[in-house]
């Protein structure tokens, strides 16, 4: 499967020129070949996926004491302030 890197770049809100797209297409192809090494991952771990709603980098460290403090995506979304549907944006002074 070939990736549409222009679309990915647009979704990531990052402007790339044609030379950059060409270079990154080569990188993508290189990584796609490298990732073929995963085909023989043992089956008992190949279906490991992150715990729903948690930061998996921390969740995989079950031996550490503070993982319970990890805030999940669902919890964040549930508590997020409700945003206006008005897409115009009020200028916010930069606070450096």
């Amino acid at each position: 499967m070939q990736m549409d890197l222009k679309k990915i770049a647009h979704n990531l809100r990052i402007r790339l020129n044609d030379a950059e797209i060409a270079e990154f297409e080569k990188d993508w192809a290189r990584l796609d070949v490298l990732s073929e090494v995963f085909y023989d991952l043992p089956s008992d771990i190949s279906d490991i996926s992150p715990k729903s709603g948690s930061f998996d980098g921390a969740a995989l460290r079950s031996d550490e004491p503070n993982d319970e403090q990890t805030i999940g995506r669902d919890e964040l979304l549930a508590n997020a302030p409700k945003l206006s549907k008005d897409k115009t944006m009020v200028a916010v002074p930069r606070t450096v």
Partner: protein
């Protein structure tokens, strides 16, 4: 003797004896930076702030109110560690004029212990590639101590190639609050110094759990960590020597011989899961970077493009102009890895591979105390482009598994310093630091 060539521990003794003041020491380091920093090891030199802090350290000492063993000793910080009131750029156009309104947790600890921040060292943009300048500043005697960050091993590699010590602590041992986030499951504040003892003394100050970083943990580097070598073992796994040149192998074998001479037993170890390490590291680190760097959009702070008609153009042009090539590469690859089409095939597989690597290393390190590995497989052929595909696989195991790893100087071959890593189990930071100290003492006695 040129005081700038001394270790931090030796400088501390000079300060305690009254033969040297912190002001004299900091002035000497500032002169060294001014005379020698043609290659821009520093982005910002904090001369005024450092001299003021040194004066305060001298007054504390005169009043008998010394804050720590390293009170009055200078240190440099990578420019991705937040310093209140001092520019912190991450070597990026995106943050070229950013002045943080707060100190990173490690900076708070350094200040509480009386260390003097002498400047902010250069790095590859957002630490994606190397901490070469932090290691170079220590090797070129511009500072006795440096803090940088270690994601995939850049700090250890830079230290190895500069002939100094570079230490990646156990993941979470040092609070990451105020370290610019790139790859959150691997980001670690690391230490560069000219002796193993200096590394340990600094770790004693910066270690500790902190509620501002949920991954932080408590690890004490106590005397009880001093190893009893006769009951310990080490191994040199073949997988970490697959691409090593003969000089690198010689350096590692020499370190192994020294460990054996101390009474440690050499064992055989195979780590077949490391064949997944390169792909897993690239995919996970890029995915996390894509997520973490999404905050740089020209709205809240940092660089903002001058060319836009609507919000999307503001975001796209700001990020397109503000980030360099390597950062864009990683954001794009990370975006691919997290996309609906590739999440199962790349990202989840990479996480599974990392879990396998971690489990294999945990099992190995329940039987073996120390893994000996090259810092760079081929120092003479080392590429410093920062391109993620050209990173040394020897550095990944500790990063992916969150293990402590120390790169120690292991000789000079063909004019290029070579480093050897000592890697141990999580929380056994003291073990490798004390072992390295004893190795250095043994070497000095020979």
């Amino acid at each position: 003797m040129d005081i700038t060539t001394m270790t931090a521990a030796a400088l501390s003794k000079e300060l305690a004896s009254g033969r040297l003041s912190s002001t004299e020491l900091v002035s000497a380091e500032l002169r060294k930076i001014k005379d020698n920093d043609d290659d821009s090891a520093f982005i910002t030199v904090c001369a005024d702030e450092a001299l003021k802090a040194a004066g305060e350290a001298d007054r504390r000492r005169a009043d008998g109110k010394v804050l720590s063993f390293l009170d009055g000793v200078p240190i440099s910080l990578g420019d991705n560690i937040m310093t209140k009131g001092i520019k912190t750029t991450c070597a990026s156009k995106m943050l070229w004029d950013f002045v943080p309104p707060y100190d990173a947790a490690v900076v708070e600890k350094l200040k509480s212990a009386g260390l003097v921040i002498i400047g902010k060292t250069n790095l590859d943009e957002f630490a994606m590639g190397s901490s070469t300048e932090a290691a170079a500043a220590v090797a070129a005697f511009m500072t006795p101590l440096a803090l940088g960050s270690d994601i995939g091993g850049s700090l250890r590699q830079s230290a190895g190639l500069c002939g100094v010590y570079g230490f990646r602590p156990t993941y979470g041992a040092v609070c990451r609050y105020g370290l610019a986030a790139v790859a959150s499951s691997m980001d670690t504040v690391g230490v560069i110094a000219r002796s193993a003892r200096d590394v340990r003394l600094l770790c004693d100050i910066i270690y500790g759990e902190d509620s501002r970083d949920a991954s932080s943990i408590n690890i004490k580097l106590t005397e009880s960590e001093k190893p009893g070598f006769s009951s310990m073992s080490f191994a040199l796994p073949d997988e970490l020597f697959a691409d090593a040149d003969k000089n690198t192998i010689s350096a590692a074998e020499e370190t192994a011989a020294k460990l054996a001479a101390l009474g440690m037993t050499r064992k055989t170890l195979r780590l077949p899961s490391l064949k997944y390490a390169l792909a897993a590291f690239i995919i996970i680190s890029c995915a996390e970077a894509a997520s973490n760097l999404a905050r740089f959009d020209g709205v809240g702070y940092g660089y903002r493009t001058g060319s836009y008609d609507d919000m999307n153009e503001l975001f796209e042009n700001t990020r397109g102009e503000g980030f360099g090539q390597e950062v864009k590469r990683r954001i794009l690859l990370g975006g691919c890895a997290l996309s609906a089409d590739f999440r199962e095939k790349w990202f989840f597989k990479a996480k599974a591979a990392a879990a396998l690597i971690r489990a294999e290393l945990d099992k190995a390190l329940s039987d073996i105390d120390i893994i000996v590995a090259p810092t760079s497989a081929n120092p003479a052929g080392n590429k410093t482009s920062g391109n993620i595909f050209e990173t040394d696989i020897t550095l990944f195991p500790a990063s992916l598994a969150g293990l402590p790893a120390l790169s120690l100087p292991a000789g000079v071959y063909g004019g290029i310093p070579t480093g050897v890593q000592l890697i141990s189990a999580r929380r056994r930071d003291g073990l490798i630091l004390y072992t390295a100290e004893i190795l250095a003492e043994t070497e000095a006695e020979r």
